[in-house]
């Protein structure tokens, strides 16, 4: 067994510190011993109902049963497929079909799925299942319509953990934030780095998450990990005051571009914290590059570099696009071999992933993020392909030209959808609410007489966005 297999590491901690808190959620503290036993019980049920080695879904609420479900599913040698708790359920259906899911752990009843009890009672002996399979399937926005499932192996996660545990001194006394949604691969870092070292995973309620700085202070968080947007939100809430987070000793950021001004504000609030900017697409398992900011360099403006790739990862720049290879590269997209072959290419026996991210390397071999080669963007850390909004509207528009564009507004990115001709905006928005998560909904749908073109015959995006200002 790989020594950095996530389940192996959890079990080691459970054996070493059985009575320590593994999880604090909804006012409840769960010890390693309790979480180990609970997840063993789920694993036995998964195996007993004939779903070992399959993909198993659960509704990813940030509640105790979800954490036990993740461990239980993986202990059964299966892969977990987290469903966004806010739906929409039509999106669940697409995800479940694309991933070929046949069972769900938890209390929800979903058509055609075998229900597996996620309760604490039952057999508590650890099952002995293979650990070299798939760990999870996470869905991101897809440009050709509908979500795209990334299949990540346990060996991929093990490679990530091996790096993190080697370069950062996480301790069993650390209290880790769990700010990321469980549908987001950065949550895998939260859970398994914490449990690898015997730490306590601190899960805020949705309302506590909005006030993350206050929560972190009260919960005694020592390892902070968030998207930069969460820091911006704390600034707006006037809670990111100087010295407000004295316990934070490691602060990690990922999922979006981190600006020096946001990092400066966080550094002042967390005077004892190391400041690390991580970078990586879901397809390369959580993160593959890091830049640790020196407190002496905080006076800069612009965007913080994404740093150097991890030791086990090789990166190269083709044109301006970053391409990656190494043990963290995911298996591919579920049910979409064509997209997998397009993004993951084998050259002379080496598999390379095209990130779609434009970068430059400076003379210190430090990578700087420049933007995307396509239209993909990040909204509160979520990957969004504006074309997915257009694809969702296409069946209602019957060939009418439509385009969704991003617009920067007061530090946040918002989407605007432009449709040629007269349309029923509430009806279109209702349809979008039915099929898209809330963070992908456009701020407005605007009607245009005809799509403006540039002198070169291309769509004039600037002219369209100017219409937002003019109402």
């Amino acid at each position: 067994m790989n020594v950095t297999d996530p389940i192996h590491l959890f079990r080691q901690s459970a054996k070493r510190w059985p009575l320590r808190a593994a999880l604090q959620v909804e006012g409840r503290t769960i010890t390693y011993q309790e979480l180990d036993a609970w997840s063993n019980a789920i694993a036995h049920r998964v195996i007993g109902q004939g779903h070992a080695g399959e993909r198993i879904a659960f509704v990813a609420r940030k509640e105790a049963p979800s954490y036990a479900a993740i461990l239980g599913i993986m202990k059964a040698g299966s892969a977990y497929v987290p469903l966004p708790p806010d739906g929409p359920t039509t999106r669940w259906t697409t995800m479940l079909q694309r991933a070929g899911v046949r069972a769900l752990v938890g209390r929800e009843q979903v058509d055609d799925l075998d229900g597996i009890d996620g309760g604490e009672q039952g057999t508590h002996a650890p099952p002995d299942m293979p650990t070299n399979g798939e760990a999870y399937v996470l869905f991101t926005s897809g440009s050709t319509g509908g979500p795209k499932g990334v299949s990540v192996g346990r060996a991929n996660v093990a490679a990530y953990l091996e790096h993190q545990l080697a370069v950062n001194e996480f301790h069993s006394t650390d209290r880790f934030s769990q700010f990321f949604a469980l549908t987001f691969d950065l949550s895998v870092h939260d859970l398994f780095v914490c449990w690898a070292v015997g730490g306590c995973l601190c899960v805020p309620t949705p309302s506590e998450l909005m006030g993350a700085a206050s929560y972190a202070r009260e919960a005694g968080i020592t390892v902070w990990f968030s998207v930069p947007s969460l820091v911006v939100l704390q600034q707006r809430l006037r809670t990111l005051n100087e010295g407000a987070l004295p316990d934070v000793r490691i602060a990690l950021f990922c999922g979006e571009s981190l600006t020096w001004s946001v990092l400066r504000a966080f550094a002042a609030a967390a005077p004892n914290g190391r400041l690390i900017n991580l970078y990586g697409p879901t397809e390369a398992t959580i993160a593959i590059a890091a830049y640790e900011a020196d407190r002496g360099s905080l006076g800069q403006e612009g965007v913080v570099p994404i740093g150097r790739t991890f030791r086990s990862t090789d990166g190269r720049i083709a044109g301006e696009e970053l391409e990656l290879c190494g043990p963290q590269l995911a298996r591919g997209y579920v049910g979409d071999q064509e997209a997998t072959d397009r993004a993951f290419r084998v050259e002379q026996g080496v598999r390379w992933y095209r990130t779609g991210d434009r970068v430059r390397m400076d003379d210190q071999d430090v990578l700087h993020f420049l933007g995307r080669t396509d239209d993909q963007l990040k909204i509160m850390g979520h990957r969004v392909e504006p074309a997915e909004v257009d694809a969702a509207l296409a069946p209602l528009l019957g060939g009418t030209p439509v385009i969704t564009l991003p617009r920067e507004e007061g530090g946040a990115v918002r989407l605007y959808t432009f449709v040629q001709g007269v349309v029923d905006q509430p009806a279109l928005m209702n349809e979008l609410r039915r099929v898209l998560p809330s963070y992908m909904l456009p701020e407005r749908i605007l009607q245009v007489d005809r799509m403006p073109m540039t002198a070169h015959g291309k769509l004039d995006r600037r002219a369209l966005l100017e219409q937002v200002e003019h109402g």
């Binding site: 806010d86 949705p206 309302s207 506590e208 909005m210 006030g211 206050s214 947007s229 911006v232 939100l233 707006r236 809430l237 006037r238 809670t239 909204i379 509160m380 007061g410 530090g411 946040a412 918002r414 905006q425 509430p426 009806a427 928005m429 209702n430 609410r433 809330s438 963070y439 909904l441 701020e443 407005r444 749908i445």
Partner: protein
């Protein structure tokens, strides 16, 4: 500013966006969660609070704004201002 006036101010700021989202005017109120419904994102929600602060002429305790259950609902926003 009393509860009725405050509710009116809040509704005025939400109504157009709600209509675009396909929500009926009478649905904008009570336990409607302004963030989970997709009406606002979290930054938009905080912007709404600060805009209301200017209208009301005083600051609320944003540090504890989200402590109460249902803080991001229509009624939750009213409570935030009424208790500050």
């Amino acid at each position: 500013m009393d509860r009725t006036e405050l509710a009116q101010q809040l509704r005025e700021r939400l109504i157009h966006r709600a209509e675009r989202l396909g929500l009926r005017a009478e649905e904008v109120g009570g336990s409607l969660d302004l963030v989970r419904s997709g009406l606002l994102d979290s930054l938009g929600f905080v912007d709404l609070i600060t805009e209301l602060e200017q209208v009301v002429g005083r600051e609320v305790d944003l540090a504890t704004a989200f402590d109460a259950p249902g803080a991001t609902t229509f009624d939750g926003v009213l409570e935030l201002f009424l208790r500050s």
